[in-house]
Symmetry: C2
Subunit: 392 residues, 2 copies
């Protein structure tokens, strides 16, 4: 699949992921004749994507010269959450040169949020992080038409439906932009620099305020026909369960998510089944999923049970998806990944018991390595891909 | 995606699907320069894949000559079911020139079954259906390693685990062979000549003795990492349901399948809730899912309820898969597709109610057009693809 991609894209990605490489090694690794490689490198140098980087160590004979991505390349990576904005400016190797994170309510709408993003980027420029941006990548917490660069009917983003996010950023910064769903960019990040490195078929399951799934199939993100593939939070897990915010009954998200867990922790505190939660509720006046995680670490039986119950329900849904998609890895990320090994153990137990043995014979179920940085990392990868794609 | 495929494959597929085409039109439709097309056609004529087919109707100027697939091309298409063998010999346009169908128990093992397949093919040869085969395509009712051409741990096929099906057929007939899961070949058939014609992302759901799903994503069959993607019959739908043959509790298949429906029909007959089933049971001494379908058509309330209950359960699973995969069509096939519109109506009702509105805004849920011929059709398509792939 990858080999069918244009040479310039493969070459620039190789420099992004490996740093300075000799021309000799580039020709070997891209499996193309030396003259063709030399011509392509010259072209990319003249376009400003690639720069000379001195002499390579000797391989015997004449020493080959190193090339690297132009050190002045800059990408902006933006991860918009339900209640946060993360903005990074990175160089060609996707190393941060400026980073900002602050609380922000996505419900204040696209104009307020994107104006703040632009302010942060202009501030980075004023601080010397870049002269000009080569591309902007953005993740948003809702379904996206990847082709059109707009959110589509995003449930928790009032005012954002079909708002021209990509167009606005492209005009503001004079460079290509790309917009994707937040779970997809987390999956892209995890594949680039995390636990799913070089894995072609995996599911990235984000468990946070809500639940969503990024899908990698045959080395590519699968977004579905309308861009909303992976919306697993509203799969029904209990026909007699509580009502979900979406209006249906017994959705996974209504039974296991940050919101659901906080609610159950309060019930456990008030009913006296959890001394740990009762103590915290008295001290702080409120509880979050993080309190449940801490309670479980301290050995509070009710907290452990809550996490196990949630893991069992999520595991049941994942078992079905494993039977359907037969992936080679499941990565658990998002805020509730902090629930850690108790959660993982329960998910594994259900998935391994319920799915076809052939599909689970070699199926790691693991925690995200990048944690809260998965999103910006993926946004940076997407931005670099769109910039590299234009090097024609 | 398709355009990245080799020219010879695209050209031969075009002739397979369109019949005789002029050289001028071929160059237009393949979007390549005339000289390159002429050279490729000459090459394929000399290899015996393509033949001259007279003059085209005038488009003004010199009349272009027609070419078509060599009329002596022959593919064998084999659809092995749990209790049946279907063998067809088709020409390059996939039109049957010989066809055999007979009962056979897959549990008698690969040697007996494949010997019978070979006998039928040799009989077709003796009857003049072909001089030599150009490829054989086979579907089997279980998971398959598509790469290795062998069944892998197939639950209802004792003795077939890793049996070298492809190798045996290749040696016997002196031509390339290809082996796939029966549901995948049905999906391929339906996309080639049925209701999913030219649809790139769809699910083909086979409801028969068991339940399985063929998955088309971005115009390609998705088989998963181990070749067992689409095994949806063992997704749990009722944690308090009956035990399944797989040893787990409340699998979809245990609650809705040919076997389950026949069992429930007998219960309905004996308990007196279904006069139609009682009458049939007395007359025949046994009941099948087909009896339930006929009972429903006659208006028997218990039969209608059984089909609706099954449709609701299947619909629940499909709603989850729609949220996950966001396909553009769902095709219902297999023996129980005979349950028809009552089944479809119930599935639609659940899917449209339970999945994300964005994913169901334009999501046809339809019956297979090819019915029992979907399997052999797909096997023939696969066989032709593997033969065309060798035209290098």
């Amino acid at each position: 699949m990858r080999n069918a991609e244009p040479l310039h894209l493969r070459l620039l990605r190789l420099l992004r992921d490996n740093g300075a490489v000799s021309r000799a090694e580039l020709a070997d690794r891209l499996e193309i004749p030396r003259p063709r490689l030399l011509a392509e490198v010259s072209r990319l140098v003249s376009l400003g994507y690639v720069a000379e980087a001195g002499l390579a160590a000797s391989r015997g004979g004449r020493r080959s010269t190193l090339v690297e991505l132009n050190p002045s390349l800059r990408f902006a990576a933006v991860d918009l959450g339900a209640s946060s904005v993360d903005v990074e400016v990175v160089n060609g190797r996707l190393e941060p040169v400026a980073a900002y994170a602050e609380p922000a309510d996505i419900r204040t709408g696209p104009k307020v949020i994107l104006q703040r993003v632009n302010e942060l980027l202009h501030k980075a420029k004023a601080d010397g992080a870049y002269e000009r941006l080569d591309a902007v990548g953005v993740g948003v917490p809702g379904p996206v038409s990847f082709r059109d660069g707009v959110p589509v009917s995003p449930p928790i983003m009032p005012g954002w439906d079909r708002f021209p996010v990509r167009e606005l950023l492209t005009r503001e910064h004079g460079c290509p932009s790309v917009v994707d769903n937040d779970v997809n960019i987390m999956a892209i990040g995890e594949r680039h620099g995390g636990v799913a490195h070089s894995v072609d078929d995996f599911l990235f399951v984000k468990v946070g305020t809500g639940i969503g799934c990024g899908i990698y199939l045959s080395g590519e993100v699968y977004r579905g026909v309308d861009g909303c593939a992976g919306d697993i939070g509203h799969i029904q897990v209990d026909a007699h369960g509580p009502m979900c915010t979406c209006g249906n009954i017994g959705c996974l998200e209504a039974l296991f998510s940050g919101t659901a867990l906080a609610k159950e922790a309060i019930t456990a505190a008030r009913s006296g089944t959890s001394p740990a939660m009762a103590e915290r509720l008295t001290a702080k006046g409120a509880l979050t999923a993080l309190d449940v995680a801490e309670g479980a670490i301290e050995g509070d039986v009710a907290c452990i049970r809550l996490i196990r119950d949630g893991g069992r329900r999520l595991g049941g849904v994942l078992a079905g998806l494993v039977s359907f998609a037969n992936p080679s890895m499941i990565v658990i990320g998002g805020g509730l990944a902090q629930l850690g090994h108790i959660l993982l153990a329960e998910i594994r137990s259900v998935v391994y018991r319920r799915s076809l043995p052939l599909a689970t014979g070699n199926l790691p179920v693991v925690l995200s390595e990048l944690g809260p940085r998965a999103g910006v990392t993926g946004a940076a990868v997407l931005a670099s891909d769109v910039a590299f794609g234009e090097a024609t």
